[in-house]
Amino acid sequence: MTWRISLAIVAVLAVIALVAPWLGLRDPNAQPDGLVLRELAPMSRPDALRMADGTRRFASELREVDGAVELRRGARWERLELETLDGGALATARERPLYVLGTDGFGRDVLSRVVHGARISLLVGLLAATMALALGTLVGASAGLAGGCLDAVLMRFTDVILSVPRLFLAVLLVALYGRSLTTTIIVLGATSWMAAARIVRGQILALRERDYVQAARAAGVSPVRLVRLHLLPAATMPLIIEGVLRVGDTIMIEAALSFLGLGVPPPDPTWGNMIAEGRDRLFDAWWIATIPGLAIVATVVALHLAGETARRRWSPQAG
């Protein structure tokens, strides 16, 4: 039951992230009116006027005077002649666009930013986890297959990296190599391959002395082929589970990096930098920081449940 729900949440998130540009949401980075639309609470419906030239004007307050409309932006009132409006009348030009999750300090739509943030956060998580699995498989397979000196060196190296807390390592790497989307993905991938390496190495050590592997070796099968066809398939399920758990982990670390100002650079929304931007306005506009945090919690819980249930189902030890 929880298994189905968590898988469904993951699937829905993935689909939303995939089709985000075609959902008819507002541009996540657009700032149509930083003054009027600034920090609107969820479910706000600000006043807007469609103009004859196709543009749109927003207003904190609207009033009709003879032959014209007056709209207030901040402290100032502006006068608009009726003929400049779309349709030439207030009734035809007036709109009340709905901001379901409100707006942030720049007047950007929070709903749209959370959805597009899912796109970037999930992309970062997925690519970094894939990279971690690939690196881990490479290191683990080399260590397990070669044994001896190389095995010792690689595994001590793994121990060394494991003893630096991941967030510190990631912070150090970004501080040294600069900040961009690509760096974020590479840094997160490069700091999370250790568990995968241990899984692959363990699996290979367990199978290395089996007869069929010895036979394949004797027959002159190349090491790459040996790993790919004879040794790795047994590790597939644990690796996939590790990957799923890693995606959730990576999303959390990306959020922490972004919060510290070291993740994906603005204005592109990620859940982490949205929380960072909402931090200064916490008491006046609680929704800016709260909503992306809820998105993180939902995603990580769903990924964790999916991964854990898969582990329980397929892991031979648990039975």
């Binding site: 060394v160 510190f168 190599y177 993180i296």
Partner: protein, 328 residues
């Protein structure tokens, strides 16, 4: 026990050397020279640059610099100069370390007490709604980024209810308080950050103790005790919990990396003047020397945590050290 300690130390020391080496290699391979990073965009004549490079030994080959750096680090604890705080890195760290130790220590006490109590309590109510609630709670706490949980705690408990201060370690008037008042003030400031920092570990501990208790409650010795007429309460808190608590020591040691990483963001959220805050300021001012030093210190915490956990396990459970000794 001494032999076991030496054996563990023989693992920990090279590990720390490895971390230092890794950090040096990262620094060497990063784009831009250290001199560039300090000078920034300021226009500096070439001969001045050269003089700086010579003065700090950057004109030497990398292996020589590595040996010198490691020597200064190991023999004199020298970590370089922090240009953002205008003092040696070691002194900046010396000032930032006590607040972090206080925060992390309190968080540890919190997560041990909360985790064990809630875990045992929920295990005693298996199959009922209390168990589900605790499980749900722990899952939520695990999935919440510490900095977001911190912001939410401030929003709720500082802003809405006004129960706890939202930032810093002391009241602005703390100097005028009596000694007891100052202590109380400090404790008051500690509550939120320590609870937030310990939340994720408390969640892990809770599930761990819960599972251990359920296992222990199914053992024959519990049935035997029950047959002897031992009360439910004593059965739970005396017999089963004692059995389930051993692995807790291990988990406490392993949760150190979580606390150390967490302190980085939690201290930023609560403006706590510790290592995390120091690291954050260093990031903002491109003070790489400080980031290097705090990274190594964080690793030291992790290695020490593992070491202490191993030792505590060996002390509590002779099988561990005997197995190790017969295997080695």
């Amino acid at each position: 026990m001494i032999r076991y300690l030496l054996r563990r130390l023989a693992v920990a020391v090279p590990l720390m050397l490895g971390v230092a080496t890794l950090v040096f290699i990262l620094l060497e391979t990063a784009p831009g020279s250290p001199v560039d990073r300090v000078l920034g965009d300021r226009p500096v004549p070439a001969e001045v640059r050269e003089r700086i490079e010579r003065a700090y030994g950057f004109d030497r080959p990398a292996p020589e610099r590595y040996v010198r750096w490691l020597g200064a680090l190991c023999l004199r604890g020298e970590l370089g100069w922090s240009h953002s705080r205008a003092r040696p890195v070691s002194r900046a760290i010396g000032e930032a370390l006590p607040p972090t130790l206080l925060l992390a220590g309190t968080a540890m006490v919190f997560f041990l007490v909360a985790g064990i109590a809630l875990g045992a309590w929920s295990a005693a109510r298996r199959g009922r709604w209390q168990e589900r609630l605790v499980t749900l709670l722990s899952l939520g706490a695990y999935a919440m980024p510490a900095f977001w949980l911190g912001l939410m705690a401030i929003l709720l408990f500082s802003y809405r209810f006004g129960w706890f201060p939202a930032s810093s370690m002391r009241d602005v008037d703390a100097a005028s308080f009596s000694a007891a008042g100052r202590l109380l003030d400090l404790a008051h400031h500690l509550v939120l950050p320590a609870a937030v920092l310990g939340a994720a570990s408390a969640a892990a501990m809770m599930r761990f103790v819960q599972a251990g208790m359920l296992e222990a409650l199914a053992e024959p010795f519990v049935l035997a005790a029950r047959a002897r007429g031992v009360s439910n309460r004593r059965l739970l808190w005396g017999h089963a919990l004692r059995r389930a608590i051993l692995p807790v020591i291990n988990l406490a040691g392993l949760s150190l990396p979580v606390l150390v990483s967490g302190s980085l963001v939690v201290e930023v959220v609560f403006a706590w003047p510790g290592m995390g805050r120091l690291t954050y300021d260093a990031i903002l001012t491109q003070d790489t020397g400080v980031v290097l030093a705090t990274t190594m210190l964080a690793a030291l915490f992790v290695v020490l945590g593992n070491l202490l956990a191993d030792l505590a396990m060996a002390w509590a459970d002779p099988r561990v050290r005997l197995r190790e000794e017969s295997a080695g």
